[in-house]
């Protein structure tokens, strides 16, 4: 019977020197959050109303509140937004509100010296307006699946090439994002010990992503041509159906806000 040599029975004393790989973690987190949002958007149940009406409402609220200097009107606009927000499902509601609050809090920090050192503290309005605009944009985003967004833009008669590019960007964001996540994970697994050349490693990941994106472009063109693509793209538009109750409600709110803006005026 042979026994193990003593050197083989010993514990390996190898301890890799510690290194900070925060750039990989942060990049992983960034891409994961984008992918998470894409998946969430794809899973968003199709709301009853028209995306175009929601887009018009969002743009109207953002423009009117931005132009207005009247505190009462801004309060009115914000109330209308909160009512629309309250009608969203809880998850979508939290997505919109958390982003709005984060942008608003950042604006508060930026504007704090101006708020503290001016009388009256007019800069508070600046913070409220920033919160309101971010909330409006995120309410739209959280309540509208992406495919509907491009359909709404197509209904506004934006050029086909623009819609095609936008559509493709959303799709490939998901595909290339998955690839980026895989590349970063493998870099994370292979990073044992100290890596003195982190930037080169990151250059490899992002560079591979670029080379792959060029291949994707070639492949998708071949696929498009096989399906008869000849350079002209007519995006699908929103179908005209009976207007939903939510659409009528939003359109009435739009009209009400426009009238309030007209009567309350711009000045404070």
């Amino acid at each position: 019977l042979t026994t193990l040599p003593s050197w083989l029975a010993q514990t390996d004393p190898y301890r890799p020197p510690e290194d900070r790989d925060r750039f990989i973690d942060k990049s992983l987190r960034g891409i994961s959050s984008v992918l998470g949002k894409i998946k969430e958007s794809a899973a968003t149940p199709r709301p009853r109303g028209s995306a175009l009406v929601r887009l018009l409402f969002t743009l109207e609220v953002i423009v009117l509140i931005s132009v207005s200097r009247n505190v009462s009107f801004i309060a009115l606009g914000l109330t209308a937004q909160l009512i629309v927000l309250s009608l969203l499902p809880a998850r979508a509601l939290w997505r919109a509100l958390s982003r709005g609050l984060a942008v608003g809090a950042f604006a508060l920090v930026i504007g704090l010296p101006a708020i503290l050192f001016s009388t009256p503290p007019r800069a508070i309005l600046f913070t409220v307006k920033i919160f309101s605009a971010a909330l409006a944009a995120m309410t739209f985003s959280a309540s509208t699946p992406w495919a509907e967004l491009t359909r709404a833009l197509a209904t506004l008669r934006l050029p086909g090439i623009f819609i095609l590019t936008l559509d493709m960007a959303i799709r490939y964001l998901s595909l290339l994002g998955d690839l980026g996540l895989g590349l970063l994970t493998s870099l994370r697994l292979r990073s044992v010990g100290k890596n003195p050349d982190k930037t080169k490693a990151l250059g490899g990941v992002a560079g591979t992503l670029f080379v792959r994106s060029r291949e994707c472009a070639e492949e998708s063109l071949q696929a498009m041509e096989c399906r008869g693509f000849c350079g002209d793209y007519r995006p699908p538009r929103e179908k005209r159906t009976k207007p939903a109750v939510s659409d009528i409600g939003l359109l009435l709110t739009c009209a009400f806000l426009a009238a309030a803006f007209f009567f309350l005026g711009k000045a404070s």
Binding site: R20, R22, F23, K26, S27, I31, V34, K37, L59, I65, S66, V67, R69, R99, G100, A107, G111, A114, S118, R122, A123, L125, F126, K129, I130, S132, A133, A134, A137, M138, F140, S141, L164, T165, L166, D167, M168, A169, I170, R171, Y172, L173, L175, L176, G180, K198, T199, L202, V205, G207, T208, L209, F210, V211, S213, C216, A217, S220, L221, G231
Partner: protein
């Protein structure tokens, strides 16, 4: 650098959005010429790539990280016009779907990140690359271009912020949008960009470009030199905007005239006298004192002065480059 809504007044947003319209139109025209139908999907995929590289964090000395924009990188890989379109689409997605950057300020964000960065970066990259013909020269050009590009964009954003108290205020003179003047906004934006964000952009751009150049050089677009037309359009727009200076009360720091120097204050104390050297020194009589011409409104005077100044500079630089190239020819002949 993504400016959310309401940091800039709607008028500023409209002006910068209008400034971007001809740039987008030219970009589409040029990309159609350069990128044939075979490469059409590249634009959308380029936009997705542009979006994703903004998610990558670059390691910095000391353990901190920062994320890059990648404008100069895209300009070098796809060409500046395609980069403008790709970054614009990425910014639109970020504004509409992720709440990153405003919807009204979309034009301003595109101006800073989709126009200034790729074009400034690309021109510097090309200028260095054409003069230092080696791979190191190419990478140095790219590094300098990306560093200058992002800092120039930060300066543009700072100027946009800093002009707000002058452009939009209420009856009591209190600002309605970004409340800080240029004296605050320029250092607040430029110091972190010069120290951190510029370095991040430089490292990121050079690392990726070197990798792609080594592993798949055929994917890098053979760059045709872009025309200088867009620069002239930008120059024209800046000339038209020059009367904005009229909104500022007082004279620029260090540009006081004899009649103003006595009232200049330091630490709350007025100077109270005119320095002797200024009294007896040369008093140059210019053709257009204070950019005004008698019989014309002040704003028209400003625009005329800006046109004249720009034309004189262009003439001077053309003559200089002609002389330099002649000397160069003589040297090579001898």
């Amino acid at each position: 650098m993504h400016i959310p809504d309401n940091y800039l007044s709607p008028v500023t947003c409209a002006v910068l959005g209008a400034a971007m319209l001809p740039v987008w139109a030219l970009a589409v025209k040029n990309v159609k010429k350069e990128i044939t139908r075979e490469r059409l999907p590249l634009l959308g995929i380029g936009a997705a790539f542009s979006f994703l590289i903004m998610m990558f964090n670059v390691p910095l000395p000391g353990g901190t990280t920062g994320h890059a924009v990648g404008g100069t990188l895209l300009a070098a890989l796809l060409g500046p016009w395609a980069a403008t379109i790709a970054i614009s689409i990425a910014l639109l997605l970020q504004a509409l779907l992720f709440g990153d950057g405003g919807i009204l300020s979309f034009g301003a964000n595109c101006f800073n990140m989709a126009f200034v960065i790729p074009f400034a970066g690309y021109f510097i990259y090309k200028a260095v690359k054409d003069r230092v013909k080696s791979q190191t020269g190419e990478l140095i050009g790219l590094g300098v271009g990306s560093y200058v590009g992002i800092n120039l964009a930060a300066l543009c954003a700072a100027i946009e912020f800093g002009l707000q108290p002058l452009l939009a205020h209420d009856a009591q003179g209190l600002p309605l949008y970004c409340p800080y003047p240029l004296s605050v906004s320029v250092p607040a934006m430029l110091i972190p960009h010069l120290a951190v964000a510029g370095v991040v952009e430089l490292l990121f751009t050079v690392a990726i470009f070197a990798f792609v150049k080594k592993t798949a050089p055929e994917t890098i677009r053979v760059a045709a030199s872009p025309k200088t037309k867009p620069l002239f359009i930008l120059l024209f727009a800046l000339i038209c905007l020059s009367p904005i200076g009229l909104l500022a009360s007082g004279t620029a720091w260090g540009e006081w005239g004899q009649d103003e120097i006595a009232s200049v204050s330091s630490n709350g104390n007025a100077l109270g006298f005119v320095p002797a050297g200024m009294k007896t020194g040369i008093n140059l009589q210019t053709l257009m004192p204070d950019y005004s011409l008698s019989g014309l409104p002040e704003a028209v005077g400003y625009i005329l002065a800006a046109f004249a100044g720009a034309a004189i500079l262009v003439i001077a630089f053309k003559l200089m480059s002609m002389l330099l190239s002649r000397n160069g020819v003589k040297k090579t002949e001898s």
